[in-house]
Amino acid sequence: MLLESERHGDALVVRPKGAWCVENLAQIEAALAAVPRGAAARLLVDYSGIEKLDLSGAWLLHRWLDAGPEERVDQNDAPEHFAFIDDVLHQQPKEHVPPPEPRLTVREALAWIGRNTIWWLRQIRLSIAFLGRVAVNGVSALRSLHSLRVPSITRHVYETGIQAIPIVSLIAFLISVIVAYLGAQQLKLFGAEIFTVDLVAIAVLREMSPLLTAIIVAGRSGSAFAAEIGVMRLNDEIDALQSMGVNYFEVLVLPRLVGLVIALPLLTIIADAMGLAGGALLSSTLLDISLAQFLPRMQDALAPTTFWAGLVKTPVFALIIALVGTYRGMQVRESSRELGRLTTVAVVQSIFLVIFADAVFAVVFVELDF
């Protein structure tokens, strides 16, 4: 028991005992809460029982002693820490800041809706402004080779394109094997296994490989863009660039954009090849469609435009991924938590927008008979 108390007429006698230190926080709390306050006129304090006291213990005791209406009378010398605490309190007189009460009124609700609306409108305005700046800087960068930053673009083509080849190839290969296998099982019911070739070729070239490649790249490079630029923001590197008069859109945003617009179509072509290879492999091993049969059948199945219908979408996907990644990176302010949050937002939004754009393309292509 850390605190003993006794009533003597109008006085409450308290005797703190034992170790009052940060190790015993829970016991101190319980001991202080157990003693009733407010009934007595005087508080007689006997400090002689304290064996060990640190600043935290002294502070909690001091606060508790001064919290009630009673007059505090020290029976013997107060511990040394009390002098320090009095000194600290003296330097900065105690002010009471009442905690703001949470209110849920109609007015608050309306204000909340209003604030969010304005926030959303601001977000929309900011992203349009970002698009505009990218466009303006892009056009002006085309005028000279220097402002196009070729070495930087090359680096980004390497990082976002060449380094992604293994993972993109592997996934394209596996997915097309899965599609071919599922398709073959269903088509067998009609005795039309040969159409598996049509299915794989069209699905891979038109949809699977552009979409999958874009999603993988959004996860790999969209997050990298947001994180790289976000860390530069946190380190004031962007301010440093601006102070040197360097256009940071030209240095940071455009090379990533151009690099990805170059890299993504090339990656998609590799994914096309790997996907078709996966389909051919499955056809020859499971369906007895040899490569000699597979190739002519594929030639027949594909219209001249099928390959291009897939490929033409990829620069748009690249633009979306690069714009969202760099934009979210630029938005990082203040803390490392923001960095994590915005990197996540960048990936989720770019994947969503890529799929959305793909849906728009699908509708448009159907209308155009492409």
């Binding site: 940060v22 829970a26 600290v88 800041v97 803390s335």
Partner: protein
Amino acid sequence: MSASPSPIISIRGVTNRFGRQLVHDRVDLDVYPGEVLGIVGGSGSGKSVLLKTMLGLHRPNDGEVRVEGRDITKMADAELLEVKRRYGVTFQHGALFSSFTVAENVQLPIREYFQASQATLDALTELRLRMVGLPIEAGSKLPSQLSGGMIKRAALARALALDPALLFLDEPTAGLDPIAAASFDELVSYLHRSLKLTIVMITHDLDTLIATCSRVAVLVDRKITVDTLAGIMNHPHPWIQEYFHGPRARAAQAAAQGK
């Protein structure tokens, strides 16, 4: 100088090597209870490595580091944790957790070690903030909303969270304006006097050294030379002479004598 016989930290024959570069060559250093020891040395002389060695964050290639008589270089992690609880550290740039408020930063070590209600934690935080001269409202702010001087104070408040007996300060006044630096020096001296803390600080600031430190350890040529401030100033080593008698040092000393 009241050199008590049993040092709180005792470094013996510590050698630190990074690749082929020798940073510390069998250095010895004692820190006595209740003193303020300043560590100075040129950039790259291994001050921070020495500090990390004392904190148990870096294991030296050779030698022993005794904190309160126990060698931390040979300790198991659980035991080391017990030692770590006894000291507080502030880092050069504050190292406040940027996604927590100042109050949450201060409460983090307490929460980590002990059970306590939010009201008690708030009460303890209030004391820490008052001790370092921060307004209570600063507790609800994020580190990015604070000025440089306030960040240093908040970092000190967090270092004091567990009532340490030993305080390590890494460049406590770096990056502060002279007024903020002077008031931080005053704060450190005040806490040292009233709480009887033992303080080890790395500093480049001669004003801080003169204002707060009772002894000075100079890291030069991979060795440590320790003496009182007056003693070290008369040390014949050319680097030490240059450090304490160069143009900037003279100005700082003139200012100190003028007080």
